[in-house]
């Protein structure tokens, strides 16, 4: 039975957000006997509620609260109020994610050391190494049921992957397969195998893709130590005179303000909302926002260097049939500055349905050059670029100076401009993707601009020195002992890999640390 906790319960660990970070941390702590309350801004759905329809699903799941944008990125021009395509529902963006589960590479934890000082970039080494995370990566892969780990079979080759693989062979790429995916290739952990339905981004209606919604959360609830309170939008974290956080203020499902006491608070609302909440929690003691003595809260916003390449062939492909992202080329993920940029990128299969293809292929474009591409929708193949972008201090999530949401909280203002290294990497990836498809007979290729961000990272970064970042090696804020950050905003740098596996890994590690510190009465 899920545990209902009283608003005045001072012993409860309050986690804000129920996605990869918050949902995992909540279950792990509950398994250890810790009292946990997860406050989730969105509603609770069941996976059977998901819809195989892009726009309907967007309306059902996406975080659509108004946001503002600025800076040089094209998203700010095409989608000025939609900087990110993430989810507001129990399970967070693990309902929407593609499932790609890759470990960071060793060198990506030490970017300042390995890449050197780069003008305009705010590079910093992580205070932890791959070796520190390996045991937790191992547990995370097992928990998520990641294919090609722990003896789990890879997913079968779908049409889109077959085109990618043929092109990869032509180009001489060596590491191309159907990915390390948190999608069951066979029944596992009480969840069924992938039925090749497509619509992975719209929530898996079979439950074959791992999401905290139907794994971590019910498992945590079964301990009797976890309560998930949906439709609860946290507006402020409050503290006492000693500087310890004591409670959070949230708007409940009726918009009424409630105050929930807490022994420990863990912020896991994704890299836009997490810094927004810390900044909005400014007080007389912490005038620049909570945990912000470094001034780095909200700074160094990263979104991965992304883009897509779609190609048209003179024969049918039907790329939308099957798992959306079960295909990867890892050869370009290495750090090889001779390519004209530091860091690396992955190439992963991707498809959009016709409605989203029309919206995202070349936003704002119209006329025959655009529509003749769509005319061949069933003969298209596609891939997505995911590469390491440079942290830059001016790329930031700020509180909007004027606009407020329905609760009176300033809306987030998301600023981003590509670093020259990001541009060079994207252009290289476009070239490779275009060459790959032409090698298998594409008659037309389309380098497609980045979509609204799905990988939001870095806005409460981890640092050895409290001067350089917001949290320590355990995600504990440097300034406040009982305040933690438990999502991708902890990332010191972004790596080339899809971030979810690392978010889960950090949450597993953090759960051990929080339980230990609570046991020792340090928090």
């Amino acid at each position: 039975m899920p545990a209902p906790y009283d608003l005045n319960d001072e012993n409860v660990v309050v986690i804000i957000g129920s996605g990869a970070g918050g949902g995992t941390l909540g279950n792990e702590l509950a398994q250890k006997g810790v009292d946990v309350l997860i406050l989730e801004a969105g509603p609770r759905l069941d996976y059977t509620d998901f819809v195989n329809d892009e726009w309907d699903s967007f309306a059902q799941l996406a975080w659509r609260d108004k946001r503002a944008t600025g800076g040089g990125w094209r998203v700010s021009k095409d989608f000025p109020n939609l900087p990110a395509w993430i989810v507001k529902a129990v399970g967070g963006t693990t309902t929407h994610w593609a499932g790609a589960s890759l470990r960071f590479q060793d060198h990506e934890f030490k970017t300042l050391t390995n890449y050197g000082k780069i003008e305009g970039a705010n590079l910093l080494d992580w205070p932890i190494t791959l070796a520190d995370l390996e045991p937790y990566y191992d547990r995370a892969e097992d928990k998520l049921g990641v294919t090609r780990t722990h003896g789990i079979e890879g997913l079968p080759d779908d049409n889109n992957f077959k085109v990618m693989k043929a092109g990869a062979d032509e180009l001489g790429y060596k590491e191309c397969h159907t990915g390390r995916m948190a999608i069951n290739s066979a029944e596992r952990d009480g969840r069924m195998a992938c039925q090749q339905t497509g619509f992975c981004f719209q929530g898996c209606k079979w439950g074959a893709k791992w999401s905290t919604l139907y794994t971590e959360i019910p498992k945590g609830e079964a301990t009797g130590k976890l309560e998930v309170r949906p439709d609860s939008m946290v507006l402020k974290i409050e503290h006492d005179d000693s500087g310890k956080v004591t409670n959070v203020v949230y708007a409940d499902k009726d918009g009424k303000l409630q105050s929930q006491k807490a022994r420990v608070v863990c912020v896991a609302c994704n890299s836009i909302e997490s810094p927004r909440l810390l900044l909005n929690s400014a007080s007389n003691t912490f005038r620049d926002g909570l945990a912000n003595s470094s001034g780095q809260v909200g700074k160094n916003y990263m979104r991965h260097t992304t883009g897509s390449v779609y190609a048209v062939f003179d024969k049918k492909v039907h790329m939308y049939r099957g798992t959306t992202m079960a295909g990867i080329i890892r050869d370009e993920a290495r750090n090889d500055p001779s390519r004209g940029f530091v860091g690396g990128y992955e190439l992963e299969t991707l498809s959009l349905g016709l409605p989203f293809m029309a919206a995202f292929l070349n936003p704002g474009d119209w006329g025959r050059s655009f529509t003749t591409a769509l005319d061949h929708y069933d003969s298209m193949a596609g891939m997505w670029i995911v590469g390491e972008d440079m942290p830059q201090e001016q790329n930031a999530v700020k509180l909007h100076a004027e606009l407020k949401d329905e609760h009176g909280m300033p809306i987030p203002d998301v600023w981003f401009t590509d670093h020259p290294n990001d541009v060079a990497m994207r252009n290289h990836a476009y070239q490779q993707g275009i060459a790959l498809y032409h090698a298998v007979g594409a008659t037309r290729t389309m380098p497609t601009p980045p979509y609204p961000s799905t990988h939001n990272l870095g806005t409460n970064r981890m640092s050895e020195n409290p001067r350089d970042g917001v949290v320590n090696r355990h995600g504990q804020t440097h300034d406040i002992k009982n305040l933690f950050v438990s999502d991708g905003s902890q990332f010191t740098t972004g790596g080339a890999e899809n971030p979810t596996l690392t978010i889960v890994t950090l949450a597993l590690r953090q759960a051990d640390y929080i339980a230990q510190e609570m046991g020792a009465r340090n928090i």
Partner: protein, 178 residues
């Protein structure tokens, strides 16, 4: 009742009516205005916008996202919401009516639909593509045209697949030409 024949610019109203009747597809629908197609069995009634405005809007929609294999009725459905919105919001009505009037003005004597070649109509659209009018029409259309389930098969998109058990036995890996 006003009847406008869509798709064939430059005909007089009398000719329109005559052709409509001759084709035997004339719909008689009560109301202030009716757009109809003589060659296809569909009709569109406007309530807030002038029927001529709607006819031009349909042509404009096709010129923005031209797909020769997609019949007019889908473009008509895609822009119909502007009539509904114009009925509720006078500012929207003004935006559309003024926008179309401007389009006609820029197009010369026969108006926008009097320009016979798509290329010539597109040249006029290029002049106004940064205006709120154009952006409103295009921005709405990219959803309202491509999100019609009836349009998807024309592009070979199969839509929802869960109820059919996904593609695991229906061709997720059926590519043969590689």
């Amino acid at each position: 009742m006003v009847t406008i024949y869509t798709g064939k610019p430059g005909l007089s109203r009398r000719e329109l009516l005559k052709r409509g009747s001759a084709a035997g597809a004339l719909f008689v629908i009560s109301g202030s205005a009716v757009l109809l197609s003589a060659t296809e069995s569909w009709a569109l009634e406007t309530s807030a916008l002038k029927p001529e405005t709607m006819a031009t809007l349909i042509q404009m929609a096709r010129d923005i996202y031209p797909h020769d294999q997609v019949p007019d009725r889908y473009y008509a459905i895609a822009v119909k919401s502007h009539d509904e919105q114009a009925g509720k919001d006078p500012a929207h009505k003004e935006l559309i009516e003024n926008g179309i009037a401007d389009l006609d003005r820029r197009s010369g004597v026969g108006g926008y639909t009097g320009l016979g070649w798509e290329e010539d109509r597109v040249a006029v659209l290029r002049q106004i593509e940064t205006t709120p009018f154009f952006q409103t029409v295009r921005g709405g259309l990219v959803v309202s045209l491509y999100n019609q389930k009836e349009v998807w098969p024309i592009f070979g998109y199969e839509g929802e697949s869960y109820s059919k058990g996904g593609y695991i036995k229906r061709g997720f890996d059926d590519i043969e030409w590689l």
